[in-house]
């Protein structure tokens, strides 16, 4: 597979604290990679390291196929748009002037400014000072700046934070559309499981600086496996016959079974004269999985 970002042993230490601890990221090209973790898990620190805004204590970073070092950092970042934490802008300059700075620094043609404003629907307010923008507009201006020069990769840190519900929906739609519409790979962080579930194709889950899961969203969903829960006329006897089953409040929870094994189990119980009284399917929710992996209640 083609990766836009990979890291090896990426680590950041602040004194005793290790906000990012030997992380091996792998962000596949051409999709949305959701970087999920509770507040304080190390998402921002990781993304800042990818952009060279924070210096790693240890480990290496490769972006767009090149190993990043202090010499080539800015030339690689010419193809990377970013939005980290709160919006970043010059308040006394208009939206257009803010983008002019980006244009000038990246040697882009004049037309890019209008295109970028258009993409985030700020065309009508291009000549207003950014300080007078609402948070949502500032955030959109940040996206416009990130879009300048048609990046191959966008690194977005909690871009929906602080937006109103309509703004959130709009931002999510925009992010989801980036790979198909502009061919941009997106790495987007969030502390909201439901958000990542909505927009991402791949998921990395970070907990206290450690990457505890990294795979496709589908693989995460697959973890929410179905299990059979039984109540029988003789739970003790049934448990003796099915040693892998677990007791839970008068129920027997079977491990995940193939159809054949499930059939064999029910026949076995019938042969031994144990009747099945109740039967249900238990499915772990994504929230349960998130809770297991991060030790934190999923925020929705």
């Amino acid at each position: 597979m083609d990766y836009c970002i990979t890291t090896e042993n990426l680590t950041k230490r602040y004194g005793q604290e290790i906000p990012v601890n030997h992380i091996h990221l792998a962000v596949p090209a051409g999709a949305v990679y959701g970087f999920l973790g509770p507040n304080g898990a190390g998402k921002t620190t990781t993304m800042k390291m990818l952009l060279g805004l924070v210096h790693p204590t240890e480990g290496s970073i490769s972006v767009l196929g090149q190993n990043v070092n202090e010499k080539n950092r800015l030339s690689i970042l010419r193809k990377v748009g970013s939005l980290i934490e709160s919006p970043s802008y010059y308040g006394h300059l208009t939206a257009r002037e803010n983008l002019e700075i980006v244009r000038s620094l990246r040697n882009l043609p004049k037309g890019e400014i209008d295109e970028a404003l258009d993409a985030v629907r700020l065309t009508g307010t291009g000549n207003k000072q950014a300080a007078k923008f609402s948070l949502g507009m500032k955030q959109r201006l940040g996206i416009a700046a990130a879009l300048m020069g048609r990046p191959k990769l966008m690194i977005l840190d909690e871009p929906t934070n602080g937006l109103d519900p309509a703004g959130i929906q709009e931002m999510r739609k925009l992010i989801k559309s980036l790979p198909a519409q502009y061919g941009i790979t997106v790495m987007v962080s969030s502390h909201l499981l439901s958000e990542i579930d909505q927009i991402a194709d791949y998921v990395g889950i970070i907990r206290k600086g450690e990457l505890v899961f990294q795979d496709t969203l589908a693989a995460l969903h697959a973890k929410s496996n179905c299990r059979l829960a039984l109540r029988t006329s003789n739970n003790e006897g049934a448990a003796a016959l099915l040693p892998k089953a677990k007791h839970a409040e008068g129920w027997l929870i079977l491990p995940q079974l193939t159809d054949e094994k499930a059939a064999a189990a029910s026949l076995l119980l019938a042969q031994k004269g144990i009747g099945i009284v109740r039967m249900e399917v238990r499915e772990k929710s994504l929230e349960d999985i998130f809770l297991e992996m991060t030790g934190t209640e999923a925020a929705l």
Binding site: G52, S86, Y89, G91, L93, V102, S104
Partner: protein, 252 residues
């Protein structure tokens, strides 16, 4: 990154910030001060007009320019803090390039202020009829020395203004340095050399003699204070090297 482009960008970012207004206001006040001081001088005093003006301006600078530089530099750096602009900027521009461009931009404003002072002296000399020929050497020397002091202060205050989001810190540092400039002449020689704003006077081409008995003031040109000049230049170079390095290590 191209230094010229970075400097242009600094001026672009200065839009609506009117840094020059502070510089212009200070220059105007200094010009009025000079004209006021010359208002009832007789011919013998006017013969010393150029030296008088150069001396007066250097003293005034040691008090006023640190404060003005503090205001100028903190305004220039504050635009980066407000709206956390550095987080995006540093993905496009090397931090060292920004540091240099800001310093250059401040330097250009300060050069304009000192240049305006010289223009004021020449103009007032013309109007008031200073009888001696224009002391070209002293004027050039004055320009260089006053600019050197101002650059040192600008650099010192810029390091503070970039390091701290709270601009009260560089602003009060400017005020304190200005106050020390006022007090410096009462300090012992050795201590005086530790006060950056004292160098406006130390490096000035003109010194003053106050004759207590006759109650007269006379000005005289001094030999070039090569040691003091080298001391300040060395301090400037070290501060630049150190401050720039620290800034480049900064995480945003």
């Amino acid at each position: 990154m191209n230094a010229m482009k970075a400097l242009k960008l600094e001026f672009y970012k200065a839009r609506r910030k009117r840094y020059w207004l502070i510089a212009a206001a200070i220059s105007a006040v200094q010009a009025l001060w000079l004209i006021w001081g010359l208002r009832n001088m007789d011919a013998s005093q006017l013969a010393q007009g150029y030296l008088h003006s150069l001396y007066q301006f250097a003293v005034l600078n040691s008090i006023v320019l640190p404060v003005m530089t503090g205001v100028l530099v903190s305004r220039m750096c504050d635009i980066e803090h407000k709206g956390s602009a550095l987080r995006t900027l540093f993905t496009m521009q090397p931090s060292g390039s920004l540091f240099d461009a800001k310093f250059f931009c401040a330097g250009i404003h300060l050069a304009a202020v000192v240049g305006f002072q010289i223009a004021t002296i020449l103009m007032v000399g013309q109007i008031k009829g200073f009888s001696t020929p224009k002391p070209a050497g002293a004027l050039v020397w004055y320009f260089g020395s006053q600019l050197l002091c101002s650059l040192f202060l600008a650099l010192f205050l810029q390091i503070l203004a970039l390091r701290h989001i709270n601009q009260f810190i560089p602003l009060s540092a400017g005020l304190i340095t200005g106050f020390l400039g006022l007090m410096a002449m009462f300090f012992p020689e050795g201590v005086m050399r530790l006060v950056p704003s004292a160098y406006y006077g130390l490096l000035s081409p003109v010194h003053m003699d106050w004759n207590r008995a006759a109650r007269t003031v006379s000005y005289y040109q001094v030999p070039f204070p090569i040691m003091d000049c080298m001391l300040l230049t060395a301090a400037l170079v070290i501060l630049y090297w150190f401050g720039r390095k620290q800034f480049m290590k900064r995480e945003v």
